[in-house]
Each structure stands twice: as structure tokens, then as C-alpha cells.
């Protein structure tokens, strides 16, 4: 079981993405990398940055950086939320697009591009559910 926000977790996430045929089919034209940011709050004492590079249905690279090293990557998209919101999205208790619209999940980047890849976004969430996850308490 991997702790959410760690390199072990995001590596397991990459493996789940690259093993997923539904994701590969849905995201076959997608080009874009992300920071998934875990905001400070609760058990999270320092803002965490998970880097995920998605390219034509596969995940090419993942990494975890800190506030001090966040300039290592300049991703096209940034999605930031509290650990509680990330958990709700991962457990499918809230739709990620609905979370963006209600500002629980903050998206920086071209929303139009995301909205044209709704199926890929949904399959990405499905990949998250395949990672056995422990959340910091």
C-alpha cells in the first residue's frame, strides 16, 4: 500500500495508467503534463507536487518534488486540492469536473482542452482507483 503523494504512489499510478487499455484508447491524442498538488492542511504540513507526464495514451514520466524544487518542471496543467478532496475524487465521491466547477479542485491551464478529453479524465480517475492507497492522517 502506497502513501498518497509519495514517489512510490505516483509510480504505482504510472504503472496503472500504462496497463490500462481503456485509458490508452481514450487518451490516444492527449499531450499534456500535470502537477497534481496536495495543499497544506490537516496531516499535510508541506505542499506536495506530483508530476505526471501524459502522452498519447501513456504515462512517460512521474516525479515528486517539493516547494523548494517545484521549478524543476513547467507542466501545462496544474490541479491543486486538499488531501480530503483528492481522496473524494479518487474514491469517486465527487466527479473531478464538478470539483473543478465548484472550486474544490483548482485547475490552471486550458479548460477547453480538458473538456474535450472528458473520457480520458474519467479513465485517469479509474486508474487512480486501482492503486492501493493510504492517505496521511
Amino acid at each position: 500500500m502506497a502513501v498518497f503523494g509519495t514517489l512510490e504512489w505516483v509510480t504505482a499510478f504510472m504503472d496503472a495508467i500504462n496497463a490500462s487499455k481503456p485509458y490508452e484508447d481514450a487518451a490516444k491524442t492527449w499531450e499534456g503534463d500535470f502537477y497534481f498538488i496536495i495543499e497544506v492542511g490537516g496531516a499535510v504540513k508541506e505542499q506536495g507536487y506530483q508530476y505526471v507526464d501524459l502522452w498519447h495514451g501513456k504515462c512517460r514520466k512521474v516525479d515528486v518534488v517539493t516547494e523548494a524544487t517545484k521549478d524543476k518542471y513547467k507542466p501545462e496543467f496544474v490541479l491543486a486540492a486538499s488531501i480530503a478532496t483528492w481522496r473524494k475524487v479518487a474514491e469517486k465521491k465527487v466527479d473531478p469536473i464538478q470539483a473543478i466547477v465548484t472550486r474544490q479542485l483548482k485547475l490552471t491551464g486550458n479548460m477547453g482542452k480538458v473538456m474535450r478529453a472528458v473520457k480520458a479524465a474519467q479513465e485517469l480517475v479509474n486508474c487512480v482507483t486501482q492503486v492501493k492507497t493510504e492517505y496521511p492522517e
Partner: protein, 390 residues
């Protein structure tokens, strides 16, 4: 956490007179040439001038407005510096106005709007919508739908900041709507309300407006279609369309819209006609595989006195029959074939229809979410007018 929002809504006879009470200096009116020709823009500017508000008009909106049209409108707004942006017309004009406000007030491109950002648009200008159809309900939603012309697809987005501050429903604005547009836009309102009543983003707040909108539409759309001068029917449809907007705008539309958008983007079928065509097929699909949604359709059927006898599925199917009957009575096609689209062209476009509909959010805000195979069948059945049996 969920949100619910409505504009301050002024409705009924002479509601345009409300304009001469608003505070402001300059109003930028976004509309189309037909609205100018009908004299409806004059009714608006006359009232604004009584409030000492200077007006300028952009009349370049086309059906299914493009991103380029928004850029043009925003350019004029940046020169004129209004403190009111007014969308006057159908959904095309209202959505163009919303998007132009974003570009003007936030200094970003039309597609750069991020719903989770706060742009403080109101520090620059407020937003008003005055519909001339009944309708898209855009006057009551934060949604914007533009057309990516090169990509032949609709792009839907928005933010709670693009919810109008004021909506004015003056019946004079809709009295000259010809029957075809009355039918098309009325079916759009019905789709919004029915889809919004059953979607997975619905709340207790959205139920009430949805149910009433559906009942008003069943009782008044045909009357308004048969006799455009029927003021009561026109007023009722204005309210129905706006309430349907409140319902789906605070929830989400459904499969009728994701399939209708796909066909509209590729074949330029008018929006209301396209979504209305797919509504009964998408309802049948839900009934066949979702007891929860069948039960919700049954509630509608009972509330509207369409069917009270029998179990949920029986009542739900009676609602589908009522939708088809209404659609036929207001000149709507009941199959894709009836729209004149050639079978060969349609089938050749199937991969594109699929790509557009699976990537619409509204395909997934239903209780029975179709996979690709089911969607292909649905599109195919809808071509021939065959009821969904799977």
C-alpha cells in the same frame, strides 16, 4: 459542497421597463442582425437611454457562434469599455455576450476561462441576458457553448462568474418567433428540464424548476407553435425555458445533449432540433438499464398527468411517448433520416460522432453511462427511428 445560482429575473408584461431603473454608464449589446431587423434591439436601447446609459451594438453573432466571433465582440468591448454587457437574442447571442465579457474583463482568450479561478469580472462590468427564444435558458445558466469551426465541434465551458446578474423575460421579445424556431427551441427547453431532472449532478434545488418547466412545456409549446400570438402560451414558454435553464444549469444536461451536440457540430442541425430528436432515444436507453432513472421519469409523468397508472417503467415509457407526440406536433423530426442527412454520410461520420459524444461531460452525468458500442447502436437506431431495445 455544491452551488445553486439564479439571476435576478424580471418577467411578464413590459419587463423591459426594468432597464430604465438600472445604474450604469455604457451598455454593450451583443446580438444578431435578425434581432436588429425585427426592431427588438430598439426596444432595449430606448429603455436604456431613459436611464442615461450609452449603448453600442455588436450584431455579428451567427448561429453556433465561433470563437472568432467572440474575439471580435470582445475587441469592440475593450474599445467601448462598458459597465454592462447584454446578450440579446437566442443562445448564440447570450453565450457570445458571456464569453465576450470574460475576454474583456479578465483579459484572457475565450477558451482560457478556468472555472476554479476567480476573475472578479464584476469589477469591470455586469452581465444581463434578454432571451428572444424559449429556449436555451442561457439567461439562467453559467454555461457557454461555442463552436470550434475548424474542429467541427461544440466546446462547452463556463464559470459561476458567467451567470447573468439579470435576466429579463419580456414576451414582446418572443412574439415574432416563427413556428419552426418555436418548436426547435421549445424542445431544447424540454430536454434541459428532463435531462436536468434525472442527471447525477441534480439536487433538491433543481428538482422544482425542472418539474414545473416540463409541465409548462407540455401544456404550452404546441399552443405557442400553432398560434404565435397566444400571449399566455408565449409567457409560459419563456418561464419554462428559464426554469429549465435553472434546472440543468445547476446540475447538468444529459445524453440528449452530448449526442445532439455531436450531430450539430458535424451536420449543422439546429441545436434544439438535434437534442430534441435524440431525447426519446436517450430516455429509452436509460429506462432499459436504470431503475433509478425510470423512477424519475415516472415522477415526471405523474406530475404532468401524462400517466398515473402502472409501475415506474410503464409511466416512464408513457413519458417517452408523450415527448415523441409533442415533438411531432411541433414539426420536429423523429429520426435522423427525417432531417435529410444521408445515411452514407451519417455512417461515415460515426467515428467522429462517437469521438465528440464520448468526450462530452454530459455523456457521463447519467445513471446508465453508455460505452462506445451502445452509443454506436443509439446513433444507428436514431437514424432509422427505431426504439431502443437494449
Amino acid at each position: 459542497m455544491q452551488f445553486f445560482g439564479v439571476p435576478f429575473t424580471v418577467f411578464g408584461d413590459d419587463s423591459l421597463q426594468y432597464l430604465n431603473t438600472i445604474l450604469g454608464k455604457r451598455a454593450f449589446i451583443v446580438t444578431d442582425k435578425n434581432i436588429i431587423k425585427l426592431g427588438l434591439a430598439d426596444l432595449v436601447t430606448t429603455e436604456l437611454k431613459k436611464a442615461n446609459i450609452e449603448c453600442t451594438i455588436f450584431d455579428g453573432v451567427e448561429p453556433d457562434p465561433s470563437i472568432e466571433t467572440v474575439v471580435k465582440a470582445a475587441g469592440i468591448a475593450k474599445e467601448f469599455k462598458p459597465d454592462w454587457v447584454i446578450g440579446l437574442g437566442g443562445g448564440s447571442s447570450m453565450d457570445t455576450a458571456k464569453s465576450a465579457l470574460v475576454c474583456y474583463a479578465a483579459g484572457i482568450g475565450p477558451l482560457d476561462l478556468a472555472p476554479s479561478e476567480f476573475y472578479n469580472l464584476r469589477a469591470t462590468a455586469k452581465l444581463m441576458c434578454i432571451p428572444t427564444t424559449s429556449g436555451t435558458g442561457s439567461e439562467a445558466t453559467w454555461a457557454i457553448v461555442l463552436t470550434d469551426v475548424a474542429g467541427q465541434r461544440k466546446v462547452s465551458f463556463g464559470s459561476y462568474e458567467t451567470m447573468p446578474d439579470i435576466a429579463i423575460l419580456d414576451p414582446r421579445m418572443v412574439m415574432s418567433m416563427p413556428p419552426q424556431i418555436t418548436g426547435d427551441t421549445g424542445m431544447d427547453a424540454l430536454c434541459h428540464a428532463i435531462d436536468g431532472y434525472v442527471d447525477t449532478w441534480r439536487t433538491q434545488f433543481t428538482d422544482g424548476p425542472g418539474l414545473v418547466a416540463i409541465k409548462l412545456t407540455f401544456e404550452n409549446l404546441k399552443k405557442a407553435y400553432d398560434n404565435g400570438k397566444d400571449e399566455d402560451a408565449r409567457k409560459a414558454m419563456m418561464c419554462a425555458a428559464s426554469m429549465a435553464g435553472t434546472c440543468f444549469g445547476n446540475g447538468m444536461a444529459g445524453l440528449s445533449h452530448s449526442t445532439g451536440h455531436a450531430i450539430g457540430g458535424l451536420f449543422h442541425t439546429p441545436h434544439g432540433r438535434a437534442v430534441g430528436l435524440f431525447l426519446p432515444y436517450t430516455m429509452e436507453y436509460q429506462i432499459n438499464g436504470s431503475d433509478e432513472t425510470a423512477s424519475r421519469y415516472a415522477e415526471i409523468a405523474r406530475f404532468c398527468n401524462i400517466s398515473r397508472d402502472g409501475d415506474d417503467k410503464k409511466c416512464a415509457r408513457a413519458l417517452v411517448d408523450a415527448v415523441r407526440k409533442l415533438a411531432k406536433s411541433v414539426g420536429q423530426p423523429l429520426s435522423v433520416k427525417e432531417t435529410g442527412i444521408k445515411r452514407e454520410d451519417y455512417m461515415k461520420s460515426m467515428p467522429d460522432l462517437m469521438d465528440r459524444s464520448v468526450n462530452e461531460l454530459m455523456t457521463s452525468t447519467v445513471t446508465r453511462v453508455p460505452e462506445s458500442e451502445d452509443l454506436v447502436k443509439l446513433f444507428t437506431y436514431a437514424y432509422d427511428g427505431k426504439s431502443i431495445d437494449y
